[in-house]
Symmetry: C2
Subunit: 332 residues, 2 copies
């Protein structure tokens, strides 16, 4: 599906049917992650919360859904020359794993100083790492040089039709086939709203396509120190983040064009949270659910605690986006 | 069942039928915890490992099984006056929760300086806390005074017929009704051996009763800094630990009489591990399974990494005993 004129430039923005197609395409290798609950956290928020555990997804984050959908969507002749991307985090590992599963080469451009645990993840999936200076300009220039020399298809971390479609499959599972964790009390019914962390907007955009067709409201949540999505939504145009300052390392990027085209039409609001709220929410999740959730994944719960549940919502789903934490750096 | 003369004093030591009865008794409020796997950890150990997630049990540890079995086994006239125990950790919270579920009062004697998170857990289940000096003598004296003044049945943390029977239900679930976590690859078959952390010996003793009747070998694992179980097994008599020195706060106690009576007959061996191994194993578990496991719960994996898999064992089950970590104190 292509974008409509009123969205500005004509973009290949997916629709919900593309998310449904992605779900069928990627099903065999994606984990159907569980939904956990915690009565203690319900009391804390003042609403019933269902946590969708994408920290238990392969490679430790929802990113694998989009990467795998993008890699699987390549025709054989395009796939043979491999894939490449730049990433300091979960997307790099997701692309590396997806490439390994399709038996094609992968190159991940990583900034110097990326956490060792993230490098090791990319290496463990057999991808080649090319290091560059830790600036966005250097990352993009290095990636362009790699593509020029070696060929290969670039898998953008969020501003990509197939990546957005793949990420939306999380919301599809959550709303159409929730799988309550057998050791928890199941939610008492479907959610009135979903709260999703927003960085580049792939997860929020893809999920918004689904929520809109299931009668479910959807909110984004982001750090106050990287509040470009909130400001972009208010302004009606993308306002890139300039100097992101947050421990939520997955949310330091600016919104993509395709993602914004969806978000501005489908998302109720973007909630911003303080760094203290993120740390407190992460701690609560570790203590109460016994799940390791990364700072970005704790941002939606932080938003619910800081702002209270959205008006009229008694059941809320939260996407725990990932669990890849640099344990050396954790200080509560 | 009572102990036999060759076990020394006549003790009320449970048999496997008592574990099976406990399983029926406690089923309605105990969580059937999942079994998770990690191919990365399998490669690390050189065997296939099934992790039984008692960190996802109610109150965050296997302790609830034994406490709930003991509380449920009290006749109404004994139960009415309530229950009490002394504990700096998981057993106190387990007794508090069990008492709340049976609507009877609970008193937990806690040493000064116990982690705030453990105090809060006990309080959150509505038990009364009485503080004492942080020595075993003070704990026992305070508890005796409480019983003298207020009445109430003492629930011993491990050297108790019903507590041991309750803890054994973990092994029963693991061997008779394993519930593979739906997001993981299931184990390829039943385990050749189980490795269990050992402190007072309730979990190891109860599990050993079950393993013996299921053709499964069983090993204990404990910190080298609290190696009384290993030394007791070698000596053929209980040798109490004198100055335990380990981060595995659940394993600082000495073996109970009833537990030792089972362990000496049923357990293959006790494996000891260094503090560095415990920390490394805990980190691996957090990183690979995304589960918060407390230091005591990481001791069996530490043993498998430090000693290698037991000879002839290609599939091994590990009991992740709990997930109650003082996050302020975590340093990797």
């Amino acid at each position: 599906m292509t974008g409509r004129p009123d969205e500005g430039p004509v973009l290949d923005v997916p629709a919900v049917a593309d998310v449904e197609a992605a779900a069928r395409r990627i099903a065999s290798h994606v984990r159907h992650t569980p939904v956990v609950t915690s009565r203690g956290l319900d009391r804390r928020v003042g609403a019933e919360i269902a946590f969708k555990c994408e920290n238990l997804q392969r490679a430790g984050a929802f990113k694998f859904r989009g990467a795998w959908n993008a890699v699987l969507s390549l025709p054989d002749n395009r796939a043979a020359s491999g894939v490449c991307t730049h990433s300091s985090g979960n997307h790099g590992a997701a692309v590396a794993l997806a490439a390994r599963l399709r038996s094609i080469p992968a190159i991940v451009v990583m900034p110097a100083g990326a956490p060792t645990v993230k490098r090791r993840a990319v290496e463990s999936f057999g991808a080649e790492i090319i290091e560059c200076e830790p600036t966005l300009a250097a990352r993009e220039a290095t990636l362009a040089a790699v593509v020029g020399e070696r060929g290969g298809r670039v898998i953008h971390p969020y501003d990509d039709f197939h990546v957005i479609s793949g990420q939306g499959t999380v919301a599809l599972e959550l709303l159409d086939e929730p799988s309550p964790a057998p050791w928890c009390e199941p939610p008492t019914g479907p959610p009135d709203a979903i709260v999703v962390p927003v960085g580049g907007g792939g997860l929020l955009g893809g999920s918004a396509l689904v929520a809109a067709t299931r009668g479910c409201r959807i909110y984004g949540a982001e750090p106050a120190g990287a509040d470009d999505a909130m400001r972009s939504l208010r302004a009606g145009r993308i306002i890139p983040v300039e100097a992101p300052d947050t421990i939520a390392d997955g949310l330091r990027t600016s919104l993509g064009e395709r993602n914004f085209a969806i978000i501005r039409r489908r998302v109720e609001d973007i909630l911003t949270v303080s760094e203290d709220s993120i740390r407190a929410a992460m701690r609560l999740l570790w203590e109460r659910t016994k799940l390791v959730v990364e700072p970005s994944g704790a941002v939606p719960l932080a938003a619910l605690i800081e702002h209270g549940p959205p008006r009229g919502c008694s059941r809320i789903a939260v996407l725990l986006s990932g669990g890849n934490v640099d344990l050396d750096a954790v200080r509560f």
